[in-house]
Point group: D2
Chain length 331, copies 4
C-alpha cells in the first residue's frame, strides 16, 4: 500500500486531507507535518477529524521516503517543498497555486516571483474531469483552486460558445483559512454578506486559462467576483453566459450530458442547487437555465470548498496517480 | 398630528412599519389590523418591536377616518383595500406590487388579473431618490420592491449608459415572509445558499420599468437572479454593467456624486459594502468598481430588505406626503 | 445479509437512518416508507443523503417480510406499526417514545393512552452502553430520546452518588423535526436562544427512569430544561450534580474510566466539549469538572441529536441485534 | 449640556457607548479615544454605528476637561485611567471589573494586583435597579459585568430565600470581544456550542457579592457556567434555585412585581424568554417557573450583553449621575 504524507496539515485543507487519507483503504498515511503546530495532536486541533496522529516538523530525510505527498502550504512557500519532494521521487499533489498557472509571467503578475519555474511544465492541472489521463501519469499535480473548480466545471461544456461571462461566486468562511483575521471573526461575518477581492482575485487568471484550454475564445476574460457568506463550508458560483450562438434546449442538454453523464462526481440537476446538498462531499452539483428574455444561459455550480474545492479533489487525483478506483475513500 | 393605520400588521413588513410609526414624533399610529391574527397583541407576536397595541380586523367605517395608511397585504389582495381607503380620502402607501407596474398588461403577465387598474396611474412609484416631488403630492404611493430598490438605486446613475447588465442578488430569509415554508425552515436555510425564482422573479419587470424611466435603452432587459442566504435581514445586489461607452474614473465619480451627494439615505463608499452596515436602517450603501480587464462597471448596493426595502421606505414616503422632514423617525 | 426497512423515512431521523443503512455493508435496505411523501424520491427530499430510493406506502404484506425495521413514527402512531411488524417476526428498533417508559401509567401521564401496553415489557431500552447484552437478544428495541441519551451517559457513572441534579440542555433546531412551526422558521430561531417545555418536557420521566436503573436514589427527580439554539444539529447537556458524598479526583477518574474506557462511542475528555466535535457521528463526548467552591460535579455531554441521539444509535442497536460488529457502518 | 468622552472606543462596548451618546439629546460626545486605533475613523471601524468621529490618543490635559467619561479598558488597565480622570474631577462610568469587587483581596484573587485600591470604596456598583440613589450621587460608577447584570436581576427578588442556585449562562460571541482568538473564528463558533471558563469565570465572585448584598445567606456560592453560542449578541441566564422555604405562586408573583413593576427596563413575562426579544435594547426580560416535581424555581433572564450588559447600562448610569431622565437616549 503506498505511503503518503500530508505536509502542512494544520490548516483546514491539509487537516481534511489527512482525515480522508486516514480512513482511505488504499493509502497508508504515515505522517502529518506542520511548521506552526509541530508537536500538537491533530485530533486536539481538529477533534472532529479524529486523526490520532501528532504533527511533526517536515523532515525530508524521513518524509522523502514516502510514495506520495499532499502539500498544503501557502503559495510561494509550497514550491520549494514540492521541488524537494519531487527530487526524492515523491509523487506530489500540491494544493497551492504555485503550479496551476502555465505562464510564469502571468503567475508572477498575480502572485510572487516563482521559486521553481522549471517544474511548471511537469505539473498537470488536477481537475480530473478535464485531465484525467494526464493525471494518471503525473508526478506532480497542481490541485485547482476552489473557485476555478466550480467555475470551470460549470462552464466547460459551453466553453466554445461563450461570447462573454460574468461569474458571481459565494463562499463560506472556511475558504478564508484558519488564520485569524478581522473579516473572519464571528461577529464580522455572521448576519453579513460582502464582496471581496473585487477585480483582483487571483483565481481569475486560473479560470481564464482553463476556459481557454476548454475552447473559449482567446480574448475572453471572465468577470469574477467572490462574496463572503455566513456559513462554514460551501461554495456556489452563478455563471451568466452570453452565448456566441443561439442554443436549443436539446443542444444544451447534450452538451452537459456528453461531458458529465459518466462522471462519478458531477451531478446534473434541473431544479435549484444548494451548497448544503454537496456539504462534506467530493460532488459538484450543476444546473443550468436559459433566460428567454435575454438569451443568457445561467449555470449554477455548487461544491464544498474544502472538499471538491481542495482536499477531496486532491485524494481523487491521488487515486488516479496510483491506479486506485477514482472514487475510493470518497463516497 | 396626522393619524395613520397599518393594515396587515402581522407580517414582517407591516409589523416593522407599526414599530417605526409607533415611535415617530410626527404621526399618530391609531390602529394595526390583521386578517389572520386579529385579537392578538402585536407585542406578543413581535416582542422586539414593543408596540403595545392589539391587532384588529380592518373596519373601513372606523379605519377609513385615518389620515394615512400603510397597506401590507399580498399582491392582488392589496388593491381592493387600497381602493376602499382611497375612496374615503385616506392617503395610502401600498407595500404590495399592485400599483408598481405602470403597464396593466405587464402586471397581469407576472401577477394576477388587476382588481383596480383605474388606480394605477394615480399611483406614484415610491422611490424618493427618483420621484421625491411626485411623492409629496401623491395620494397613493406604490412602495418599491426590495430588489428594485437596491438595484435601481445602484444603476440609476449609469442608466443612460448601460448596454447590458447582470444583477446577482442575495437576500436574508426575512425576505420570504413570515409564512411557513419548507425553504425557510431553519434546517433548510442554515448553512445553505441557493438561487430561486431563476428567470421568473417578479421584480424583473419592475426593475426594467424603472431603469427605462431612468434613461436606459428601451430594449434593455435585466438578467436578475436572487439567492437565499442564511441571515435574517439584509440584501446585497451585485450589478455587472457592460457600459455603452468608456468611462474615466472621474466621470463615474461625478455620475454617482451628482445623483446622491445630497441624498440623506444613500451612502457612497469606495471600499467593500456589507449588509450588516445598513442593518435596521433606511440607508442604501453603494460602491462601484471598474474592471480594467473587461471594461465592466460593477456596482454593489446593500439595504435592509425589511427597512429601506419595505417598511422604513414607506415611512420615508409618508414623511414626504405629509410635509414632515424626510428623515424624521428614521435616524 | 439481513434485509431492513425504514418506516417513516421522510422525517429527519428516519431519512438519516436510511442514509446510514444504504451505505452499511451488513444490511440490505430494501424499502423506505412514508405516510405523507409516498411516491417522492428520498434523494429529492434530502439530496445530501444520496439515497436513490422512492418512498412507498407501508405495506405489511410486503414489508413484513423484512428481517428488521427501523420505525420513525411519532409517539402513539408508532406502537401499532411496531406491533404489526413484530407479529410478522420483524425485529424492530423504534425511534418513538412508545416503548421507552416501563411504567404504562407514567407513559400515559406524559403521552397518550398506550395502544400496545402488552409489548412494553418485551422492549429493551436501546442504550447499548447500558443494556448491550439485552439488546443483542431483543426483538424490540426502544431507541432512547436524544436528551436521555446524552444525559444518562453523562450521569450513569455517578448515579449511585447523586443527591440532586440540574440538567440544562441545549439543542440545535433539527431536534424539533421537519414539521413547519413558527419556532423553527429561520427568522425566529436565528440569533436567538430560548428555553422551551419548561417543567414539562417528556424526556424527564425517561431520564429519571434510567438514572434510577443506574442506581440513583428512588426519590431523585431531575430538573431538566431544554433550550433551542441557532444551529442545525448538535446537543449539549450541562449536568450540575450535588453528590451525596465527597469525591477525590482519582475516584471520579475511576468511575468514568471504569464505565467508558472500552466503549467505542464514548469519548472522555478533560478539556472543553463542543457539539461540533461530534457532528455527524455516533460519538458521545463527555467531560467533567469538580467545583471546589460548591462541591458540585459538573458533567458536559455532547452528541449529535440526529445521530447518537436517534438514527445512528438505532443502527448501533441493529448491529448488536444481528451480531454485526457494533461499530459497523458507523465510523 | 454635559460633555462626555468614551475612552477605549475601539472595542465593542466602547464603540456602542459612543453610538448611543452620539445620538443622546442630553450629552455632548466630545471625543472618542483608542490606544490601538488612534487616527482611524470610528465609522470606518464600525460602519453600522455611524459615529462620524476620529479616534484619538487619550490626552488627559484635553480630555480631562470633560464632564464625564465612559472608560472601556481591560481590567487592570482601566484603574489608572479612571484614577487620572477622577483626579481632574471627571465623573466616570467604568466598564471594567476594576471597581466592581468591594473586597480588594477577593479582586486580586481573581484578577491582578489592584492599581488603585483606594478608589474602590468611592465606587458605586452601577446596577440602577439595585443602587439607583447611590448612582445619582456617585463620581465613579463600576458598571456591572454582563452575566452579573442578568443574573442578579433574575435572582434579587428571591435572594433572601435561596438555599442553593445553579446558573447556566449562554452568550453570543460578541461577549468575547473584538480581539482575534481561535474560539471566535467563524468556523470555530458557527454550528457549535461549548462551555468555557468552567469553575473559574471571573463573574462568579461578582455575582456572589451582589446576591449577598441582596440578602442571600453569606455562605451561598453560586454555581456558574457560561457557554458560547453561535449568535452575535444576546445573553440568556437560566437560574435553578433551590428555595429555603416553600412559596405559593402568589408570593412569587408579589416578590417579582414588588421589585420590578415600576422598573423602566425590566420586563416580567410569563411565557418563554428569547434573547432576540431584547436585542439592541437596554431591557432585561425575566420569566420564572415553579417546578412542582422538584420544588425548584427556575428563573430565565435575557439581556443584550453589549447593551444592558455593558454600554447602554453605562448610559443609564450617566443619565442618573447627571439628573437626566433615566430612559433618555435608550428607548
Amino acid at each position: 500500500m503506498p505511503s503518503v504524507i500530508v505536509a502542512g496539515a494544520s490548516g483546514y485543507t491539509g487537516a481534511l486531507a489527512a482525515r480522508i487519507l486516514h480512513r482511505h483503504p488504499g493509502f497508508d498515511l504515515v505522517a502529518v507535518t506542520s511548521r506552526s503546530d509541530a508537536g500538537r495532536r491533530l485530533d486536539d486541533l481538529y477533534p472532529y477529524h479524529r486523526v490520532p496522529m501528532t504533527l511533526e516538523e517536515l523532515d525530508l530525510d524521513r518524509h522523502g521516503d514516502a510514495d506520495a505527498a499532499i502539500v498544503a502550504y501557502p503559495h510561494g512557500a509550497a514550491a520549494p517543498v514540492v521541488a524537494a519532494l519531487r527530487e526524492r521521487g515523491v509523487k506530489v499533489v500540491d494544493l497551492s497555486a504555485d503550479f496551476r498557472i502555465r505562464d510564469v509571467a502571468e503567475y508572477e503578475r498575480w502572485y510572487v516571483q516563482h521559486p521553481h519555474p522549471e517544474l511548471i511544465h511537469d505539473a498537470v492541472y488536477g481537475l480530473p474531469e478535464r485531465y484525467r489521463e494526464a493525471v494518471r501519469d503525473a508526478g506532480l499535480v497542481a490541485n485547482p483552486g476552489c473557485y476555478p473548480t466550480a467555475t470551470v466545471l460549470a462552464l466547460a461544456p459551453l466553453a466554445g460558445h461563450i461570447a462573454d461571462v460574468v461569474v458571481d461566486a459565494k463562499s463560506g468562511v472556511s475558504g478564508a483559512g484558519r488564520k485569524l483575521q478581522d473579516s473572519t471573526h464571528f461577529v464580522a461575518a455572521d448576519e453579513n454578506v460582502t464582496p471581496y477581492g473585487v477585480g483582483r482575485h487571483r483565481h481569475m487568471p486560473e479560470i481564464d486559462q482553463e476556459l481557454h484550454a476548454a475552447g473559449a475564445p482567446r480574448h475572453l476574460r471572465v468577470t469574477f467576483t467572490p462574496h463572503l457568506l455566513p456559513l462554514d463550508q460551501g461554495e456556489l458560483v452563478s455563471c451568466y453566459v452570453t452565448p456566441s450562438a443561439e442554443f436549443g434546449e436539446d443542444e444544451l442538454v447534450n452538451l452537459f450530458d456528453d461531458m458529465y453523464a459518466r462522471e462519478p462526481f458531477v451531478e446534473l440537476r434541473t431544479g435549484p442547487v444548494g451548497v448544503i446538498d454537496v456539504r462534506d462531499t467530493n460532488y459538484c452539483r450543476i444546473s443550468w437555465h436559459q433566460d428567454p428574455r435575454t438569451g443568457r444561459i445561467i449555470v449554477f455550480s455548487a461544491i464544498d470548498n474544502l472538499w471538491k474545492g481542495a482536499a477531496s479533489q486532491a485524494v481523487q487525483n491521488l487515486n488516479l496517480m496510483f491506479d486506485r478506483p477514482e472514487t475510493e475513500g470518497l463516497l
